[in-house]
């Protein structure tokens, strides 16, 4: 069939890959509700009614989110819920509507002022809460826009590609991703919270899109190429053909993956590789079968401390217990708090560090707040009674630091024994993320090593993780990084202890052969990548295709 020449040439917009995937679909443009704010007001009575209805709608949405969120997520939403019942916050908006403003303009205007107040001054915790206010501001505004659009409410066309200026984590969670093909947003970075959510759930996502989403042609065809980090609007037939071919290959892979998913990961030569998963927040586990993996290779605990919460021993123990219960006898490695760097915790992490990534973070921070680490180690040891739990500490540079962590852990275990509390004696391992630790791995008296490739790449190449201008230089497959990984694996072998890798590198099927070549036989990956990584392992050492 002859190829038709399309009226308009295709347009390619570059961005950054946040979550892998490839899709063709119609553009669903989420317009910043600026138009709604600019709209002329109807009568105060109508605007007032619209405002109250939008509040009600937002309350319903938050209540539904609280239902599905885990206990910790629910706490975050509770604050927003309380604000929607706060007449002192809402009455000035109602007054402005009575005075003739539109509901949207009155709401945005008043909340802008409040957000400004939260951000002003040097109170880091309150500044962080400004995000909650901004999230709420957008939610109520969307409710107003949706009410104005049509009686039908929000419509999500099947298989559409969402484009918008930004995507808040709560908005991400409420969208029906079984009906959407993926998203491209102008804001965000590959390390932002929404990117982590998308990776864990296998939703293709491009962030930092170099386009004004509001100017994109809604309803037109586009290719979301989250492999190459490009959005192609109104693709040419040649582009579509090429994408079709790639999609067909991916579909073929998917059927092979479906067969592999419940079986152990093996190389072409039949060698077994332990394949574990990374868990950012336990809510994710509800939709996952433990049968698909060999356990949890990295459970992060930062979510426990989100927004400055300091959970007590019981609360922590319950969460750790939940992870172990889910794994059903498979090994679970939990990492102690890794705050600092790009993960500040108000009141705990230092402020005003010129370079937080080279500052007091990870274990360095925990050793300066031994009371926090102590509570966490107690909760871990107690959760690990008669369970295959391992504990690891992040950001270790020198053996003396690890020794201090070990001494604290020993003291905690003695304390628990004295108190007659049931507990286990989990192996204590270390993350290898700092080149100094990788170079001298053998000197650390740890029970196992887990390589954190994201930071190892950043520190080895001296490229900030969040700087897109350096993406090419921050190459995880660079010989320097590979050398450090191989050295660590060799040191573990000499000491007769386990080594694994739990960074993003392991989740990238293209890099899996490199890691196997380094001698690694234990990888921990993003849950959505288990199948693809199993396939990459299966092909390793086999005949080239």
């Amino acid at each position: 069939m002859a190829r038709t020449t399309e009226g308009a040439a295709e347009t390619v917009f570059a961005g950054q890959r946040a979550a892998e995937g490839l899709a063709v679909g119609r553009l669903l443009v989420e317009r910043a509700a600026a138009a709604e704010v600019a709209r002329a007001a109807a009568s105060p009575a109508e605007e007032g009614r619209a405002f109250e209805q939008a509040l009600e709608r937002a309350r319903g949405q938050i209540a539904a989110l609280v239902e599905t969120a885990d206990a910790l997520g629910a706490e975050i939403l509770e604050f927003q819920e309380a604000l929607l019942e706060d007449d002192e916050l809402l009455d000035p908006v109602r007054a402005a509507i009575d005075a003739g403003q539109s509901a949207a303009a009155a709401w945005i205007g008043h909340l802008d002022g409040e957000i400004e107040t939260y951000r002003a001054g040097d109170d880091e915790y309150l500044s962080a809460r400004a995000e909650d206010l901004a999230d709420l501001q957008q939610r109520v505004l969307r409710a107003l826009v949706a009410a104005g659009e049509a009686a039908g409410g929000e419509t999500q066309p099947e298989g559409a590609i969402l484009v918008s200026a930004d995507l808040t984590p709560s908005r991400f969670l409420e969208l029906d991703w079984s009906r959407l093909a993926g998203a491209a947003i102008a804001g965000g970075s590959p390390t932002s919270h929404v990117s982590i959510l998308a990776r864990a759930r296998g939703v293709p996502l491009i962030v930092g899109l170099e386009a004004d989403p509001a100017l994109l042609p809604a309803g037109r065809l586009a290719v979301l190429d989250a492999e190459a980090a490009r959005l192609i609007v109104e693709p040419s037939s040649a582009t579509l053909d090429a994408v079709e071919t790639r999609l067909a290959r991916r579909a073929e892979e998917s059927s092979v993956i479906a067969e592999l998913i419940g079986r152990p990961a093996r190389t072409a030569a039949g060698e077994t590789v332990e394949l574990l998963i990374n868990v950012d927040e336990p809510g994710l586990l509800d939709s996952l079968s433990p049968e698909s993996c060999d356990g949890i290779g990295l459970a992060r605990t930062e979510f426990l401390f989100h927004g400055g919460r300091l959970p007590d021993e019981e609360a922590q123990r319950a969460v750790y217990r939940r992870l172990l219960d889910w794994a059903g006898g498979r090994p679970v490695t939990i990492r102690t708090l890794d705050a600092g760097g790009d993960k500040p915790i108000p009141g705990v992490t230092p402020e005003d560090e010129a370079n937080p990534f080279l500052g007091v973070r990870g274990l360095r921070l925990s050793l300066r707040h031994p009371e926090l680490l102590r509570v966490q180690l107690r909760a871990l040891a107690r959760a690990g009674a008669d369970r295959p739990l391992k504990v690891m500490v992040p950001m270790v540079t020198a053996p003396a630091e690890f020794e201090r962590a070990r001494a604290l852990f020993d003291a905690v275990l003695r304390e628990l024994a004295d108190e007659g509390l049931e507990h286990g004696r989990p192996p204590l391992g270390m993350m290898v993320e700092v080149p100094a630790a990788a170079l001298t791995a053998e000197r650390f008296a740890c029970d196992f090593y887990s390589i954190g490739s994201n930071d190892l790449v950043q520190y080895t190449t001296a490229c900030a993780r969040d700087n897109p201008a350096l993406a090419e230089l921050a190459d995880p497959a660079s010989p320097a990084v590979v050398e450090l990984i191989a050295r660590t694996v060799a040191a573990a072998g000499r000491r007769g202890v386990e080594a694994s890798l739990c960074g993003d590198m392991a989740s990238d099927p293209r890099l899996v052969p490199v890691l196997l070549e380094c001698g690694l036989r234990r990888l921990s990956v993003a849950p959505a990548q288990v199948g693809r990584v199993k396939l990459a392992i299966r092909r390793y050492g086999g005949a080239p295709e």
Binding site: E75, F79, A82, E88, D123, R129, R309, V348
Partner: protein
């Protein structure tokens, strides 16, 4: 706006009390929500301020309580005006004293 309320309402009971914040991060979102929910359970008008020089704000408004920016070790003062004023202040003081537990 309710600053200096009293005068005409002299017949209704007025109660006062205070307690020190033990939570290391101060009055953050979860405790602020708990405090306002507790306060809303009473008929009385309830106000709170952080420190003796602080401004009184409505203890039933999570937004206002959040903006107190009350930090660890700071003393929270309560005052209530209404039929159940005594009970309201006692409940809020107890809430702060038990570190917002329960």
């Amino acid at each position: 706006m309710t600053e200096g309320a009293g005068g005409a309402a002299a017949a209704t009971p007025i109660a006062e009390g205070s307690a020190t914040l033990g939570d290391p991060t101060g009055l953050h979102a979860r405790p602020a929500v708990k405090l306002t929910k507790q306060a809303k359970g009473f008929e009385a008008e309830v106000q709170v301020r952080a420190g003796e020089a602080g401004t009184w704000v409505n203890a039933k408004s999570p937004n206002a309580v959040m903006k107190l920016k009350a930090g660890h070790g700071e003393r929270l003062f309560f005052r209530a005006d209404g039929a159940d004023a005594e009970a309201a202040v006692a409940a809020l003081v107890a809430l702060v004293e038990r570190d917002f537990a329960g």
